[in-house]
């Protein structure tokens, strides 16, 4: 059996590609290594009922996968660490139908114009390979607009003074603001910042046949029990409803099969261990920025940059404790953000100069708290202090946090490759992450954290603290080399996009240089990381790549 395209991965990128390709009349088989909890594949109007307000299941028991015992990854900060210093969970994005869209709390900002041309705008940085993208914001804008319609995004055009231009309004108005976010936004304005209602892939009104969000609060890390979230369910529903797509869950793609010049299909392993090859006219890779390069390496694709330039976001988390109950367990996890730290202003230029850098950029700052009561309990000591702390709840009910998703510069030495010894339960070498932040990230974090703390103090914090991910020596949370593994789920950059095959793995439409019927449709193609969550940008790029593949551009 041969289909027009096999799509590897059912997350936001793969689902988008599947919808665009089926719309163009293509037959598509989507293979997903995780389980299907999202929808009935034979009747895609019927949505799953396995998602729930259950912290044990989603946060402590790996319900969305991957389970690190059977699908581990490994980590090291550099060659000097040896083979690896950590085996287990490293940057794991859900392995389930819907992928990372299922657990995300749905912050879906666009990038800004300059994010696509950092080299041209700001110049090179020693020790990093800053480069311009082969696509600019103007070319991508129509696809951003389409992505917002496909996913269903609620937002307020014009509320963010630093936003890129846009051709139209958001499909929906923002949902209910969280009390804590109203407090932190007011404080942010008093200290001269520009907070705004976060563009969020959560329905504020019925949209796409799914209901409006009812503010249950189990958003980040959870699948939505009422399917109000713009996880890729909408794209999958439309692709499957076309009658031209099939979705194969619990099916692991282990090799892209080629005849030397073109891909001819994908070899897959079913859950019972049987192997077969699905013949295809084209292959779309959307397994995420760790698993996509792993699959290319397992397939013997020999471009020297496959897996290189792995980027994450260097997270700076400033938290404050407040006398008042901020009830962060109600609402969409994060309803307000500010972009001031993305902008290179005089203070950022001075901080860069003091650190011996030509420039530095932070990232979008999310205003939020937590409603994870079991996770809170585990942070406290046992015994009498436990019960006292659970009653006073400084780390949940009285906590508010500002999380900066700091731009992470592309470094050739930060990479995904195949671990030399560790295997998954199917017998394949697992992905190894080698990652160490550039001093740019550390300097940007050091510069911006004092502003975050000042905001929390203005808001009335009685105590404040700062941590980073990855933890760095001397920082809160540092417990040795294994704690320097980044735990951001924002991973990007391992099949870098560019016109010149010597410096890039894929071209401007995601096609592999040298094997152009294989298209990468996830955040692997990112050239730089920006200071924004990658989802909307990868959906826009996937829509554009799929349209090009189908000859519709």
């Amino acid at each position: 059996m041969t289909v027009d395209a096999v799509v590897v991965g059912s997350g936001p990128g793969g689902s988008t590609a599947a919808e665009i390709l089926t719309r163009a009349g293509w037959s598509v088989t989507i293979v997903e290594k995780g389980r299907n909890r999202l929808l009935d594949t034979s009747d895609p109007g019927m949505l799953g009922t396995d998602f729930s307000n259950d912290e044990l299941k989603f946060v402590h028991r790996h319900f969305l996968g991957p389970d690190p015992l059977v699908e581990p990854r490994t980590f090291r900060s550099s060659d000097a660490d040896g083979a690896h210093v950590l085996v287990g969970e490293v940057n794991s994005i859900p392995s389930t139908v819907g992928g990372g869209g299922v657990h995300a709390d749905g912050k879906v900002p666009r990038f800004r114009e300059e994010d696509f041309s950092l080299l041209d705008t700001f110049g090179p940085v020693e020790g990093a390979d800053v480069a311009d993208w082969p696509v600019d914001y103007g070319e991508l804008e129509p696809f951003y607009a389409e992505a917002e319609r496909l996913v269903g995004v609620a937002g307020d055009a014009g509320a963010n003074p630093f936003a890129a231009w846009r051709s139209g309004p958001y499909p929906m108005a923002p949902g209910a603001p969280m009390y804590g976010a109203l407090r932190s936004s007011a404080a942010a304005e008093r200290v001269g910042l520009h907070p705004y209602a976060a563009p969020t892939a959560v329905n504020s009104v019925p949209y796409g046949g799914r209901p409006a969000c009812n503010n249950c609060g189990f958003c980040a890390f959870f699948g939505c029990p009422i399917h109000a979230k713009g996880d890729p369910v909408a794209m999958l529903q439309r692709a499957l409803s076309s009658g031209r797509a099939e979705l194969l869950p619990e099916t692991f793609a282990c090799r892209v099969v080629t005849d030397g010049r073109r891909a001819t299909g994908v070899e897959v392993v079913a859950s019972d261990g049987t192997r077969r090859t699905i013949g295809a006219g084209a292959v779309v890779l959307a397994a995420g920025a760790v698993e996509t390069p792993r699959l290319l390496l397992l397939s013997g694709h020999d471009h020297p940059l496959v897996g290189r330039y792995l980027m994450t976001h260097y997270q700076t988390i400033a938290f404050g404790v407040f006398a008042e109950d901020l009830h962060a367990e109600r609402g969409r996890a994060v309803t307000h953000v500010h972009d001031d730290a993305v902008v290179v202003d005089d203070a950022a230029r001075a901080a860069a100069a003091a650190a011996g850098l030509p420039w530095l950029r932070g990232g979008m700052v999310e205003h939020g708290g937590t409603g994870l009561v079991v996770a809170e309990a585990k942070r406290y000591p046992r015994g009498r202090r436990h019960t006292k702390l659970m009653a006073s709840s400084p780390m949940r009910r009285h906590l508010w946090a500002l999380t900066m998703q700091g731009e992470d510069l592309p470094q050739r030495s930060n990479a995904v490759d195949l671990d030399p010894t560790v295997r998954d339960a199917r017998g394949f070498p697992v992905a190894r992450v080698t990652y160490r932040p550039h001093r740019h990230e550390l300097a940007a974090s050091a510069h911006h954290r004092s502003r975050l703390v000042r905001l929390l103090e203005e808001m009335g914090a009685t105590a404040t603290g700062v941590s980073t991910s990855p933890a760095a020596p001397g920082e809160l949370g540092w417990t040795g080399p294994a704690s320097s593994a980044p735990d951001s789920h924002h991973v990007m950059g391992t099949t870098r996009m560019g016109r010149d095959p010597r410096h890039a793995v894929v071209d401007g439409f995601g096609r592999l240089h040298g094997l152009d019927n294989v298209v990468v449709a996830d955040s692997s193609v990112f050239v730089t990381s920006a200071g924004y969550g990658p989802t909307l940008t990868l959906v826009a790029l996937a829509a554009r790549a799929a349209a090009a593949l189908a000859g519709a551009l």
Partner: protein, 186 residues
């Protein structure tokens, strides 16, 4: 009757759980059913489907059907992972692709034995000394106590929502959710 532990082990476990989350003004681990949570976790595969993941979409506590009580089925890879985690690899090649795995059952059997059969009869200072002597086991037990105390009652602990009440936490709230006013107002 314990699902997996012996009666003696269950008695030791109960006393140890109470040192992790002692009762007082608020209910402690034992009155909230935390030992049953731990025993149920160790014996999860005595049930079909195994008691690993409660069902959805709603518990029935705030409207909707009571789906949490019907546990979800495990796929082959999920069952392998959870058997490795709970039962250990036991020399089985299909569980030792990255070397042997010591499961929770063995960690509890050893850890509870090391606390001593007389653990429950000792004073709290002596109990704390024995727990401190095995920090690795105490850390595992504490994690599970937190899960049993504040996780959904369908997993065997948090009896009558006692843990949530102590933490002033509403628990699962679907399909009611919160009104826009409840989100935005103090």
């Amino acid at each position: 009757v314990p699902v997996w532990l012996t009666d003696v082990e269950y008695r030791t476990l109960s006393a140890a759980c109470e040192r992790m989350i002692p009762g007082g003004d608020a209910p402690g681990a034992v009155s909230a059913g935390v030992p049953d949570y731990v025993d149920g976790l160790l014996g999860a595969f005595a049930f079909d489907p195994p008691r690993i993941w409660a069902g959805g979409a709603f518990s029935g506590r705030h409207g909707g059907g009571g789906g949490f009580g019907s546990f979800t089925t495990l796929g082959p890879l999920e069952e392998l992972a959870w058997r490795m985690r709970i039962e250990g690899s036991g020399g089985m090649p299909e569980r030792e692709f990255n070397g042997p795995v010591v499961g929770w059952q063995e960690q509890y059997r050893r850890g509870l034995a090391a606390l001593g059969e007389d653990f429950a009869d000792r004073d709290v200072d002596e109990q704390d000394r024995r727990l401190d002597a095995d920090p690795e086991f105490s850390a595992l037990l504490y994690e599970h106590c937190c899960e049993g105390m504040y996780g959904a009652p369908e997993y065997g602990g948090n009896r009558d929502g006692a843990g949530w009440a102590a933490a002033r936490f509403a628990g699962d709230v679907q399909p009611r959710g919160w009104s826009d006013d409840e989100v935005a107002a103090p």
